[in-house]
Amino acid sequence: MHQDFEITMDGLSKIEGHASLDVKVRKNKVERVKLKISENKRFYAQAIRGKQFESVPQLVSRICGTCSIAHLTCCTEAVEKALDIKPSEQTMLLRKLMMYGMMIRDHAMHLYLFCLPDVFGKDSVLDFDERQHELVHHAFEVKKAGNDLSKLIGGRAVHPPYAQIGQFSHLPDKDEAKKVIEELERVRADIFELVRIFYDCTFSFRKKTRFVALTTPDFSFLEGIIKTSQGLTIPEAHYWEHLQRIIIPYSQAAGFELEGRDFMVGALARMNLNRDKLHRETKRDLAKYIRMFPSENIYNNNLAQTIEIMHCIDHSIEILESTEFKNEPKAEFKIKEGKGVGVIEAPRGTLYYAISLDKDGKIDYGNLVIPTAQNQIKMENDIRNLVYQNLGKSKPFIRYEIEKLIRAFDPCMTCATHFLKVNWL
């Protein structure tokens, strides 16, 4: 039987930001899949031009509510590289902690609030029954622990004010730090249940995939070398040269290919490429789950995120317990002309900032590459495959499968659309 149908999904739910999707099937052929990122542009790349360098990290922090710490940290790194500022070891530790707090909170939001309803066949976490209610409590405890960790270090979990170029303006309060350690230890127990759920989950979508991630020596998301599952290694500063920006006329965000092909960034890529560097206690306690990797099942992105939460908890506890934070002299530097590249792993994958300063320290131009924009072409290709594999099934079924798959990627549409034109040369 020939199948002709169209699916239009306006305003996908339980993802960060706005997106919609058109699918057209004619005579059993998937003629069209359009993933339209409909989040409205806010033109941050234009807005930072001419701004003084100190103010820019806090401005770009406003690109994204949920991962503002990633934008702030990555842009700070780019500015520091442009001015040859080397942050102290203590500053780097504080940055790691602040990033860990965000990862815990952001992954927990995605896993508990966006994905668990799919696993339990519910519309929303607000509809969970008695038995599942325990998990709702876990959700909010785990998120709170991450939130409190970021607050301890950055002063706030969204757009943290203490994080500055070259340093932090405040050091963590000792008593507060103790409380956060206790909180992290308490929620650590909750993660065992979450990891079991995503391990037992039978959702599967497999396809040969090129994975890309910044591999860091302590799995801290901050400094390292970009690797691909094809064995390519790329220094941070050269990432842009391997990317091709693809204009997608119906989407407010551009997509990217790496060496002419689609690819995937994010927790699954990090786990596939760098799991050896997880914290030893995470490796010890979650060995069975870590053995699932490398994996090409997109749904294992959720399992990878859960394992990352555990790593963030374990490494944060270690840093907080073993570090005596001291007042340090202000980072000294001279304002000068220069270019800098910052690359970090944001919750959803590799984040790239390049900026150029003029001799007065004003931004000449800026360029950024967002994880969701890098995943956009693969997401669309995978949806096309998913529809093809499920031809003959009902439209509501296909619709739901598409939504589930998109959620597994954990896209962030607010991040993806902020930018118009590439100015980096």
Partner: protein
């Protein structure tokens, strides 16, 4: 038991206020489950209904004609409308393009035209009547809680 019928809407912004709201659930969820019926909250639910709301909380500034139309619909279907966060309250920082030079405005025009953007980005009160404001970026959580509690009383939920 009577519950406050609430919608949460998100326009041009970084959705940081939604994130703050979700973080407030860490401490307030059990109370809100008793008092609040979230009729529209796309970040948490697939099945959303814009109908007969007591209070609409709206984040983000208005950048496109489509958003303007939707905002007016929300206003018609809600007894009270609250602007949350500085994008909704005064347009900033989502209104950066309002302050661009003529050259930069020319550069972005093609995108503005293709996706139906308005000439300028507006705060909510330039388009509809706003009953209350929760300022700051992201929104100040204590003011949000005060306003929410005020409406819980006004609509005789508590």
């Amino acid at each position: 038991m009577k519950k406050l019928k609430v919608g949460l809407f998100s326009f041009t912004s970084d959705e940081g206020c939604s994130i703050v709201l979700i973080e407030l659930m860490n401490d307030h969820l059990s109370e809100w489950e008793r008092n609040i019926d979230f009729r529209y909250f796309k970040l948490l639910k697939s099945k959303n209904e814009l109908k007969n709301l007591d209070v609409a909380f709206v984040e983000g500034a208005i950048s496109t004609f489509k958003e303007e139309k939707k905002l007016k619909e929300i206003r018609r279907k809600s007894k009270r409308l609250v602007a949350i966060g500085s994008c909704a309250v005064n347009g900033s920082p989502s209104n950066l393009r309002n302050f661009f030079s003529e050259d930069t405005k020319k550069e972005i025009k093609i995108v503005l035209d293709r996706f139906g953007h308005r000439d300028k980005v507006s705060a909510l009160n330039e388009i509809v009547k706003v009953d209350d404001n929760v300022p700051a970026c992201p929104m100040e959580e204590n003011i949000f809680l005060e306003i929410l509690n005020k409406y819980l009383k006004e609509f005789k939920v508590v």
